[in-house]
């Protein structure tokens, strides 16, 4: 499924920056320099950016303009980074956030228990 619009009837060709690599939960992925991290992830099909602290509810993009804080993730080790207004850079690390820590530091069972509950 192609999530990027290559030719738009009104906007024509949508200009993008240089293609760069960054890591998402340890996997190397690609995005365009300068575009928001949230947009690069959306184009990759990522829906869940974080799980809430108490009930482990999944959250993703909501307002896309830096207002609601639903899309925060751990970026370059910094939790609560608003991915919709943080630009993609070569070599950056982006991690799914659980509460305020990276998902990799949380036991799977905790997460699953939370989602199903």
């Amino acid at each position: 499924m192609e999530r990027r619009i290559t030719e738009h009837p009104i906007l024509g060709t949508i200009e993008k920056g240089r293609k760069v690599s960054f890591t998402y939960d340890g996997k190397t992925v690609e995005g365009y320099e300068g575009e928001p991290v949230a947009e690069a992830l959306k184009a990759l099909g990522v829906m869940v950016h974080r799980y809430t602290t108490k009930k482990h509810r999944p959250r993703g993009i909501f307002c896309a303009i830096g207002r609601c804080t639903d899309c925060v993730m751990v970026v370059d080790g910094v939790p609560n980074t608003r991915t919709c207004i943080t630009s993609v850079r070569e070599g950056m690390t982006v991690e799914t956030q659980v509460g305020v820590v990276p998902a990799s530091q949380v036991k799977d069972t905790v997460l699953k228990g939370g989602i199903m509950a």
Binding site: R3, I61, D70
Partner: protein, 537 residues
């Protein structure tokens, strides 16, 4: 502490317009904006704007944004980006958070043009990824070229809901339904009609019961509501969808004004907490102005004029412009603003049920509930006439301040008159050259060229077309009626694109003669969405 003649908060349409005026009069002006790009929401608006020439009518929002930025840079306006104004204190001291620290500046005058934020409505699963604001959809697809989803359900039938639904389709998404708890469509009928003829079903008096999915949206259930907006059990309908787009209104972001001590009032017609202002936007705190959506939700076109009014007034108050020039300029601007605030959708008419047009014609109930004019209703409007040969058919049935169609025709075939909210009248005696400028100039895409005498058995219908892929001459497809139903076969006989049309392509199809006043859209396949969507739960 840095001192400015004028500090403006917000580099959107209103703030930039205010800055252009003030800087033009020689005021030392700074504009702060928390975003990394100026222009506010203008660059996400890819549709043609309504209004008259003075209001940038028939120009797409993002192009107006480009013009504003050029004007601002020519006027020497200083725009500070990624700078969040966090407070306005006594004696107009302003705190700005930028580059990780707080700066203090002082403005002799302040214009707050912070705009508005989107409202939300809670329902089961509303926090799931895949539930997004309509503004988020615009940001993704129109700024960054990323599709918000594949199958989208839109909640809200105001102009934002209608316009964004159309833009979603232009981005290649499917809009499975447009849902609103209100009994009548809130936005312009012409915007609704664009969706209806593409086959988007409208569910008025319906609301979302729940979003389905465990870690993201996979479906939606809607229910009908009664007059008290309570859900009626047993009316549930299910839609497969990966995205729910919420467009249920905007609220002024007026916190800074409240903090600065302005007298506020709660005005539902203006969208919530708004400052009390005089006709120039000056609040109860002398020298602090509010312009644009922050002082009441309207269109970007009004916001730009309000900005210019406040900017000019501030320049006058500070002695940068003579009283004579100020009066001249403000009289013109106030007239421009007044002409935009008229018609059925004027701020004063919010919430009112309007039964008749200014011409005394009954308003189409079908348009308000289903999104299209019915065939029985169509001939009551003055833009519709039947005659031999090629002529425009203008399906404009509501009094909206808009008149580019009148200027588009060089043969005076179309007349709106002095009053820009009047319905356009087609003169059956005037010549139509078939240039198509009227079709492309109509921001509501409500103008068609019809020739019932195209050949012995067929009629031709020229319609505005803003989708990809563009059909080609010779393509054999189908015609949809105003309701989006496939009504007959259609052959593409002409496809015209021109810089003068600004990306609105003119598609001419040949249909059987009796379909001339029915066929209003082209489809390459014979399926209608209405038949496949909205299954029982």
């Amino acid at each position: 502490m840095k001192r400015y003649d004028l500090v403006i908060v917000g580099a959107g349409p209103s703030g930039l317009s205010a800055a252009i005026e003030a800087a033009g009069y020689g005021m030392k002006t700074v504009v702060y904006d928390e975003n990394s790009r100026p222009g506010g929401q203008l660059f996400k608006q890819i549709h043609k704007f309504f209004g008259s020439k003075e209001h940038h009518a028939k120009i797409r929002g993002f192009r107006i944004g480009e013009e504003l930025l050029q004007e601002a840079s020519a006027a020497g306006v200083e725009v500070q980006l990624e700078s969040t104004v966090t407070g306005i204190y006594e004696d107009k001291e302003v705190t700005v958070q930028r580059k990780g620290h707080i700066e203090h500046v002082k403005g002799d005058t302040i214009i707050v043009a912070t705009g508005a934020s989107e409202n939300m409505v809670p329902f089961g699963g509303w926090d799931l990824p895949g539930v997004i604001g309509a503004g988020a959809a615009q940001t993704m697809m129109n700024l960054h070229g990323v599709k918000p989803g594949e199958k989208v359900l839109m909640l809200g039938s105001g102009n934002v809901g209608l316009v964004v639904s159309f833009q979603l389709m232009q981005a290649g998404c499917e809009v499975v339904a447009l849902v609103d708890a209100a009994p009548a469509i809130g936005g312009y009928g012409v915007h609704a009609a664009k969706l209806a003829r593409c086959g988007v079903p409208f569910y008025m008096s319906h609301t979302i019961t729940k979003a389905e999915g465990t870690d993201h949206v996979t479906g939606v259930v809607i229910s009908q509501v009664n007059e008290k907006f309570q859900k009626i059990p047993g009316t549930e309908k299910h839609f497969d969808a990966d995205t729910i787009c919420v467009a249920v209104g905007l609220s002024p972001m007026s916190q800074l004004l409240k903090m600065s001590g302005c007298t506020m009032s709660d005005d539902p017609k203006r969208g919530g907490q708004v400052p009390e202002t005089d006709e120039y936007g000056e609040t109860s705190v002398s020298g602090v102005y509010a312009a644009g959506d922050v002082s009441g939700i309207e269109e970007a076109s009004s916001a730009m004029i309000e900005g210019r009014i406040s900017g000019t007034r501030a320049a006058y108050e500070m002695g940068f412009v003579s009283e004579e020039d100020e009066i001249k300029e403000l009289t013109k601007l106030k007239n421009d603003l007044l002409s935009l605030r008229r018609g059925m959708f004027a701020p004063g008419n919010k919430g009112k049920k309007i039964e008749k047009t200014e011409e005394g014609i009954n308003v189409s109930q079908n348009l308000l509930t289903k999104g299209y004019l019915s065939e029985a209703e169509i001939f009551r409007y003055p833009g519709i006439c039947r005659k031999k040969g090629l002529h425009p058919v203008i399906e404009c049935s509501q009094n909206i301040p808009c008149n580019p169609c009148q200027d588009a025709c060089k043969f005076s075939c179309i007349n709106v008159g002095k009053d820009i909210t009047s319905l356009p009248v087609v003169n059956p005696l005037a010549k139509c050259s078939g240039c198509g400028m009227c079709v492309a100039s109509c921001s509501g895409q409500a103008i068609f060229l019809v020739d019932e005498d195209y050949d012995e058995t067929g009629a031709s219908v020229t319609l505005p077309y803003e989708f990809f892929p563009l059909p080609r001459v010779g393509d054999q497809g189908y015609a949809r009626n105003r309701a989006g139903e496939i009504v007959c076969k259609a052959e593409v006989i002409s496809v015209k694109s021109s810089p003068a049309y600004d990306r609105t392509n003119l598609l001419t199809i040949r249909v059987p003669k009796d379909m001339a006043m029915k066929a209003r859209f082209y489809a390459d396949r014979a399926e209608t969405k209405a038949e496949t969507a909205g299954g029982a739960v």
